[in-house]
């Protein structure tokens, strides 16, 4: 199966306060990056969700006016709106975008959505709630021509519905993406894609195998995606120099915005500048912070080799980020995509409809 890519739209650093000028520039920057990503031949733009950032659904709609074929993967926290309301909104976004949508429902355990928007459920209740949520969302996104669908009555512990979905339109359902931190059963029942935390290939292989088996037992198939940062330079030495600069800058930024690290950890991090490759958990796979996406560091050929390796493990979508976003997206497209193309990893699938 083809290896596809998305580029992450940076919507502002969580917790970092942007000044007035940076906010005002944002819409222009979103459009610029979306057009660069489409031009570069990268398949999708991934629009993240989070408090303190612009609303992902609004940004996605705004970008429909400036792009034609670019896929739009939109993260939206399932805590913020009722499932039937999200289903109607998603149908409308399918219609406006010409069926370019995928939906990612991030696990609130992994984000600070709950802290900010408010949520008073314990872990078991949250798991039950997301199960009900996905059941409703999945049914209401199915086109009305599907048998056994209209109208939907639902009486759960968290959500109720009567005669839902009557105004639903005949549009293809967007693929649904859930995080690997959710239960295997939830993923097996409701997800089309699973977003994996990038880790060591051994771990990834086991994780993919486990989740794939669970899905197959439900008669479904699951595809896998993961997030990676990129630091690509023409020589390996330059790439690791850039990684060191990245670490120094990140340490400053973490120091300025995070309450999670104490000062000893900060000092420790600075000390490690000299040993930047200590965090290389697998060749070219670098994870300096345990709570942030890992990065691929190296030359175009090295990075292409790692991407090919991930594809071999069963990963079919990689969501990339690097700064400055426009120039790094073009660098990726011009220097790495051709290497993957020559390996046949970017062939369009012939018969299978991509959702």
């Amino acid at each position: 199966m083809r290896l596809e890519f998305s580029w992450q739209l940076p919507l502002g650093n969580e917790g970092a306060l942007l000044d007035q000028a940076s906010w005002a520039q944002q819409p222009g920057e979103w459009i610029q990056l979306a057009q660069a990503v489409e031009y570069a031949g990268i398949d999708q733009l991934w629009i993240p969700a989070g408090p303190g950032q612009a609303d992902s659904l609004g940004v996605a709609a705004a970008l429909c006016a400036h792009t034609r074929n670019l896929g739009l993967t939109v993260s939206i926290a399932p805590e913020v709106m009722l499932p039937a309301a999200l289903a109607a909104t998603a149908q409308s976004l399918q219609s406006i975008s010409g069926n370019r949508l995928r939906l990612h429902l991030p696990d609130s355990e992994q984000s600070n959505v709950r802290r900010v928007f408010g949520e008073f459920l314990n872990r078991d209740q949250r798991s039950e709630r997301i199960g009900e949520y996905m059941t409703i969302l999945g049914q209401l996104l199915r086109p009305p021509s599907t048998p056994s669908s209209v109208p939907l009555n639902f009486s759960g512990r968290y959500f109720q519905l009567e005669n839902a979905g009557i105004a639903r339109r005949n549009l293809p359902a967007p693929a649904l993406i859930l995080d690997d931190s959710q239960s295997g059963a939830l993923l097996a029942d409701h997800a089309d894609w699973c977003l994996l935390r990038p880790g060591h290939p051994h771990w990834l292989r086991k994780e993919i195998h486990r989740l794939q088996r669970a899905a197959e037992q439900q008669g479904r198939s699951l595809r896998f995606a993961c997030n990676l940062g990129l630091i690509v330079r023409s020589s390996e030495e330059q790439a690791w120099d850039a990684a060191q600069t990245y670490l120094a800058n990140s340490a400053d930024r973490v120091l300025a915005t995070s309450r999670a690290l104490d000062s000893e950890q900060i000092i420790e991090m600075s000390r490690q500048h000299q040993q930047v490759r200590r965090h290389e958990i697998h060749p070219n796979l670098w994870r300096p912070f345990s709570d942030r996406p890992a990065l691929l560091v190296g030359t175009p050929r090295q990075v292409a080799t790692r991407l090919q390796e991930l594809h071999g493990l069963g990963v079919n979508h990689i969501s990339l980020q690097a700064l400055p976003a426009v120039s790094e997206a073009l660098r990726f497209a011009e220097q790495i995509l051709p290497l993957l193309q020559s390996q046949g990893l970017r062939e369009e699938e012939d018969s299978r409809a991509e959702s």
């Binding site: 906010w23 429909c64 006016a65 709106m81 039937a84 406006i96 900010v116 979905g165």
Partner: protein
Amino acid sequence: MPSPERQPIELNWFLPTNGDGRHLTSSGLPKVGLFQQGERAPTLEYLRQVVRAAEQARFDAIMVPTASGFEDPWLITAVLVQEVRRLKFLLTLRPGLELPAYTAHRAATLQLLSDNRLALHVVSGSSRFEQRSLGDFLEHDERYARSAEFIEVLQAAWSGENQRHHGQYYRSGSSPAIAPHVQPPAIYFGGASSVAEQVAASHAQTYLMWGEPPAMIGERIRRMSELAAAQGRTLRFGLRLHVFAAATADAAWNHVEGLLKEIPREAIAQAQQQMARYESVGQTRQSSLVQGRTHGVRELEVSANLWAGVGLVRGGAGTALVGSYEDVAERIEEYHRLGVDSFILSGYPHLEEAIHLGSELLPLLRRIGVSVSRSKRGPLE
């Protein structure tokens, strides 16, 4: 009781996000399945033309409606604010479907995209049937109580006070940071029941009504002004109306007579049956305008130039101003003297009629001395 310092009149248009056409059944609900041929789907390619026509006609704002089967107003607004530079967007939303802290977040994003051209129109719900199909099981009066709390949490997001909210309907964490210097959107509020009036008096900036004869509107304005004054507040008033205007009164009346005649009697009965289930005081008031009247075209003229025929087949706003351009301008001026500062107008189809009324009616309103707000600041600015 209009305040002595009157704001300039605000003239707004309407975006038909569930389709458009030339017939009385072309916009709004229920759609009774007539005249499907030639009806226009609410595609972006069409809606962007309506928005552009409204901007060219110098309307102040365009109302973006919401209901099941309509395009999502947040998404449509995000796309279309980028099409025009001056026109404002009055976005309709229903509390109860999403968290108010998230709504604040969405509104801030649209303010950013539009350079502060967003206002919000808060509608507390539709029929019980539609609310339940979306997962909202609160009954009518409780929905208004929730709307009040919703607006409070929404506005608190802008106040910069990082307070936790523990109310009856919402418990929020620390509010998310709103983009700096993005303005809070003005709140328009609709609802004709007494509980709606109480919430509007304490929470709205502009109170919206569907078109009723001037005597009835005058009475509501007096009552609402007193309710607001009792809370130390003042309210603006808005009126939602359809318009069928032509060079002569005869031409306008002949046109609506044609529109009325093409509707089969059973379609009217069917639509009336559906509307009876809306449990809306405003809807009951609209329907009562035509009760006991025969369906002759002038029989439905419930006060000078105010025609209730639209409400025979369309839920919600069911009255139209019908007459020559001068007639319609005079009626608008009359409502303005009663205290109405904001008009939300529709015409069929919305693209051609925005252009038509922009060239024939809006200049007349300026000429007869109703100053159209172009430079002065109104709540939409």
